[in-house]
Symmetry: C2
Subunit: 230 residues, 2 copies
């Protein structure tokens, strides 16, 4: 591998955070392979966005893996449960909301791990965020560390002494800091989609937790918000 750039797998949702992570991986000299998930999400517009984001971010490859999380039920993001609207940003961390998808990041990181092993990549990037994290347990630093330990027990590469590193570069950043970093790296946020409940034209609702955090982030960063709202 000497003389070549190192490969990394980057989890890409089509949202603001993962678009920024893709740009950060690139700046660190990685050749990125993006992985997205078709898990029956109601906000399917993010899958189209992920294709544009992967291209704009210079990914060398991009796979979209179908995974039937909707069959398991239990979340407002996949099942017929209303997405909550109009919550205050500073209340979101207190409880785990109904938009929590059981074990989602574990499923996604597992598939990213499989992809990394096939590619011969040793680095996996995820846009998990513990600050504006909307109350999800699988976005905390101790969770990311536990997954890294697991990855090195689970795989041929780990067993053979070529360990994996799970990078979660946004984990302690505010949404405003993420946006400022992305702007510095040239991320085009106009092509990203964060809304949990967009309309049929793909326009953001402006009122779900994800929209509220995103809106607040642009305002605090002092950056114009390119999001198209309903």
């Amino acid at each position: 591998m000497s003389g070549q750039s190192k490969k990394a797998v980057v989890l890409l949702s089509g949202g603001l955070d993962s678009a920024t992570v893709l740009a950060m991986a690139r700046e660190q000299g990685f050749t990125s392979y993006a992985i997205s998930f078709d898990y029956g999400q109601r906000h399917r517009v993010e899958l189209e966005a992920s294709v544009a984001v992967a291209k704009a971010g210079g990914a060398a490859g991009h796979v979209t893996v179908p995974v039937g999380l909707d069959i398991l039920g239990g979340s407002a993001l996949t099942a017929a449960i209303d997405v909550p609207k109009g919550r205050e940003a500073d209340q979101m961390g207190a409880d785990i909301p109904v938009t929590y998808v059981p074990a989602r990041n574990t499923v996604f990181l597992s598939l990213a791990l499989g992809y990394a092993e096939v590619l011969g990549a040793r680095d996996i990037f995820i846009g998990a965020n513990a600050l504006d994290y909307s109350g999800y347990p699988d976005c905390r630093p101790e969770y990311i560390a536990a997954f890294e330990r697991l990855a090195n027990l689970a795989t041929r590469a780990g067993v053979e002494g070529r360990p994996f590193t799970i990078h979660a570069p946004l984990i302690h950043m505010s949404k405003a800091e993420i946006i400022r970093e992305g702007v510095r790296l040239g991320v085009d946020y106009a092509i990203t989609r964060s809304c949990y409940d967009p309309d049929e034209a793909g326009r953001a609702c402006g009122e779900c937790d994800s929209c509220i955090l995103r809106r607040k982030g642009f305002a605090e960063a002092g950056v114009g918000d390119p999001t198209v709202y309903e």
Copy 2:
């Protein structure tokens, strides 16, 4: 939950090991919910077998979750790589074979974890086996323990103090011991399918690692082998 039996999620492949695990969970008083995976495996006959095994084993529910591991490639079980034939059983543990599917058990346990959280189950059973384990890193006791730790950091239930237990009751058993235990519990092995490379009629090849371990197990257990071979 007092007065009711506890719920458990049981990973069910349609093979010999998981059929035995389902019977063991039942004997321990659990109400079982089976979960199977359509991951593009070439031995798709096991998916049909899993339906019969779930029914015979008294499962209260059974879901089959599509998950696109075949998109990631890298394994003889999903890709256009030949399944090795005619290896000796005592050589199988030395190397990780081409039938290894990258991160498969991590992906499967993650989805089982999501199903358990939705059901309110706290127990997950998997037929991982470290003895006749065919060289897979994600079938070792330290891997199972690491997944349990992860599960309790990853989930709402774990965070709220209702921890998960990952049961791998076969982990130190030989194939012969598994078969004897299953016979004692009334498992009908004629409806199970283990072969990695069955013919179009669903008959076992008799020569892949999985067939060789199964055949040897029946012989050592002194139990008649009900498998239909090509």
